[in-house]
């Protein structure tokens, strides 16, 4: 039986130094771990960066990933967020252009339904800003791709995550 693949989440505290991102990214590629997203930014302590990493893998591989991260000198702390209550959001921008008047109206309407903000606007083009979970963003993207595939540009930020205060919040 093939081991069960599952999406995993790691929050990683690392030294905010040159080369640390390369070290972590290289660890995934060098050991053939299947990285799906990685975001990084400074924390409240400017000497520390925090990465949010998601990957698909079975239990055994995931254990190995955590151990390998832990043994890296540049890594301060590895938190496994997979089964913890966390807040997790991704930013998605979709730029749509060459839209007809009725298409503009449709986009505005659908954006309101999806709860997506129009953050920039012209007569026949606009930018949507979506701050949602990764999978909800995928749905949003999928919708606009269906109708505007040749007239769009999309960019996704990758998820950032933080552990919940109230243990039930997701």
């Amino acid at each position: 039986m093939a081991p069960a693949l599952k999406k995993r989440w790691i929050s990683l505290y690392v030294e905010n130094d040159v080369g640390v991102l390369a070290k972590i990214a290289g660890l995934f590629s060098g050991k053939s771990y299947n990285l799906s997203s990685l975001t990084v930014g400074e924390t409240e302590d400017p000497t520390v960066s925090r990465m949010t990493i998601s990957l698909y893998g079975d239990d055994k591989t995931f254990e190995q990933v955590k151990k390998q991260l832990n043994r890296s000198v540049e890594v301060i702390k590895v938190l496994d967020f997979t089964d913890l209550p966390i807040h997790k959001k991704e930013i998605l921008y979709i730029k749509l252009h060459s839209l007809k008047k009725e298409e503009m109206e449709e986009v505005m309407r659908s954006a309101a339904v999806f709860g997506v903000t129009v953050c920039d606007y012209d007569r026949n083009s606009l930018i949507l800003e979506s701050l949602k979970t990764e999978s909800k963003n995928s749905d949003v993207l999928q919708y606009y791709k269906k109708y505007y595939a040749t007239r769009m540009e999309a960019v996704r930020g990758g998820s950032v995550a933080i552990e919940s205060v109230s243990r039930s919040e997701r």
């Binding site: 080369g19 060098g30 254990e63 190995q64 390998q68 000198v73 301060i76």
Partner: protein, 580 residues
């Protein structure tokens, strides 16, 4: 007081107790070498190639247990270290490698002799760092030595830009290290250890599997005491060889791809495999599904990432080998077990010993047994391939004797420079290098180092005029198609050739003449009756190396062999040869 970066560098080495620095100068390291001029506290050794340099530092470290220290220039000086750094990494050897670097304002400009050595080495070392501010220099060097030697030891790269070397700054070298990302594990989980001890007492066919970790933590004596207390058989990996004296009644032998029948049978039939300090790589396990399939497995290792990676274990224990062995010896009670299992393995060891079956006038077995006979204690450094496996099969390690070999990476060219480093670190011990004719040529330039440093190492070249290990695979698994493994082949030969012939061109180089060109004694041995005399002659050269070329059969095999991917119980013990 303000001092230059280079002066702090020298001060740091002195404070770290470095007695030997392996160093090769160049443009971006010239300031560092200038600071070394006049240095009285340590020896500076100049090898002839940076690859030889790093292997020498590695041999020094393995022989002494101290950290090997390298200093090279930027660019090619640094990239020439790469193979040696990876070699040390896979065998957990503590090294600190200092590389010169272009000034910080030129980094990224494709400046002359600029490479991103930290980037290149990231995946093959324990830690790599560029010093970007003069005020960080002392702390980073301190951390480098600390990281290299603690926990699971390994190589550390410290890249030193030229402007940092020249800059004035504090003369303080820190006494303490505090790294929030690096806390080597200490202590042993007693609950797990008690569980393991209980399993040891209950097992009917228990077996110790000893890996390189036991040697790295210098736990040979403790391991022997534990095995004796429990009357338990012990097998070792190549890297674990020597943890128990090779002639100890409880030592069954090396297991794995070229292990002996008794040791591999022991692993296949035991009901408890108690393994210490091994990462179960593929050369050890053979086919994973068949590996120790009837056994519960206990695994002690300092590296949590080595546990349950290749094989799933029943009781994992993250700990230093020595600490765990000592604690285990205290808590485990002597079992009431019949001696049947041990006796069976001992009998099997007697009945099916490893030997080279050959009609040749001189075999590799004669040579390695000649080393055993010539020296009561010794350090032997091997190259890689058949010479390495024959050495691990026949060498007898007792007392302070050590085997230095590139077990993880399998680096040809390792043997000679490692032997030189070992001799520099342990001048009182006889040091023997066992190499093949192929691997020797990968770093033969280090003969000059041996001569100039006046190192009386005994260099044994087993010359079969082939890249023998690959040739053997070609013979056994590739229909005898000797593709690019003959070292006598010339452009005028038939393009492809599948066997040595009487009319083959002569071997180059003539190793005896090569030795003579370095002003040292070269001896050619063609019969087993000459082996002892050759070693006796070599012992007389107390200020210079001796090169002994042993002419062995061109198609000698290393057996038994577990072909890659087979179970350990599926050993090939002979290869049929026509006309033999």
């Amino acid at each position: 007081m303000k001092i230059k970066g280079t002066q702090l560098f020298v001060k740091a080495l002195v404070e770290e107790g470095v007695d030997t620095l392996f160093a090769y100068p160049g443009g971006m390291a010239i300031d560092l070498f200038d600071a070394l001029y006049g240095e009285k506290d340590f020896r500076v050794v100049l090898p002839r190639h940076e690859q030889g340099l790093v292997h020498a530092a590695d041999g020094y470290a393995r022989a002494t247990g101290k950290t090997g220290v390298c200093l090279v220039t930027s660019g090619p000086g640094a990239t020439n270290l790469v193979t040696g750094i990876a070699t040390a990494n896979y065998d957990s050897v503590p090294l600190v490698c200092f590389t010169g670097q272009v000034p910080t304002n030129l980094i990224g400009n494709d400046a002359f002799q600029e490479v991103d050595i930290v980037g290149i080495c990231r995946s093959i070392c324990k830690y790599a760092v560029t010093v970007r501010r003069r005020e960080d220099l002392g702390r980073i060097i301190k951390e480098a030595f600390y990281v290299a030697r603690t926990g699971k030891p390994g190589p550390v790269v410290v890249d030193l830009p030229k402007d940092i070397q020249q800059a004035l700054g504090s003369d303080e070298y820190p006494k303490e290290v505090s790294m929030r990302g690096y806390k080597p594990s200490t202590g042993v989980h007693m609950g797990q250890l008690k569980k393991a001890a209980g399993m040891l007492e209950a097992a009917k066919r228990p077996l110790f599997l000893v890996g390189g970790g036991v040697n790295i933590s210098h736990a040979g004596a403790e391991m022997t005491a534990l095995a004796e207390k429990l009357h338990m058989p012990v097998v070792s990996t190549v890297m674990g060889k020597g943890a128990l004296p090779s002639d100890h009644p409880l030592y069954i032998g090396n297991m794995g791809m070229h292990g002996n029948v008794a040791a591999n049978t022991a692993v296949s039939e035991c009901d408890l495999l108690f393994s210490i300090g091994t990462r179960f790589n593929d050369r050890i396990t053979g086919k994973l599904g068949e590996f120790a399939k009837d056994a519960k497995i206990v695994h002690i290792d300092i590296d949590a990432a080595s546990i349950s990676r290749n094989i799933v274990v029943d009781v994992p224990i993250v700990a230093d080998a020595k600490e765990a062995i000592v604690k285990l010896t205290e808590i485990v009670s002597e079992p009431k077990r019949s001696g049947e299992w041990l006796e069976r393995l001992q009998t099997l060891r007697q009945e099916k010993p490893i030997r080279v079956v050959s009609s040749a006038p001189l075999t590799p077995q004669d040579v390695i047994e000649g080393i055993n006979a010539a020296f009561p204690e010794f350090i032997v450094a091997t190259d890689v391939g058949q010479n390495q496996m024959w050495t691990t099969q026949f060498i007898q390690l007792k007392g302070r004797s050590r085997l230095l070999t590139s077990g993880g990476l399998g680096t040809m060219g390792y043997g000679l420079p490692a032997a030189l480093g070992a001799k520099l670190g342990s001048p009182d011990m006889p040091v023997v290098c066992v190499s093949g004719d192929g691997g020797f040529q990968m770093n033969e330039q280090e003969l000059a180092t041996a001569v100039c440093e006046e190192l009386p190492v005994v260099i044994c070249i087993l010359n079969n005029s082939y890249l023998g290990n690959v040739r053997q695979w070609q013979e056994m698994f590739y229909g005898g198609r000797y593709s690019c493994t003959c070292l006598r082949k010339r452009a005028s030969c038939a393009k492809w050739c599948s066997s040595p012939k009487a009319e083959c061109p002569p071997y180059v180089p003539d190793f005896v003449k090569l030795a003579q060109s370095y002003g040292i004694e070269g001896i050619r041995v063609t019969e087993r009756s000459e082996v002892a005399a050759a070693f006796e002659q070599a012992k007389k050269n107390t200020k210079a190396p001796t090169l002994i070329e042993f002419i062995i059969d061109k198609e000698e095999e290393i057996l038994p062999m577990v072909p890659g991917g087979n179970a350990l119980s599926e050993m090939v013990t002979e290869v049929k040869k026509e006309g033999r």
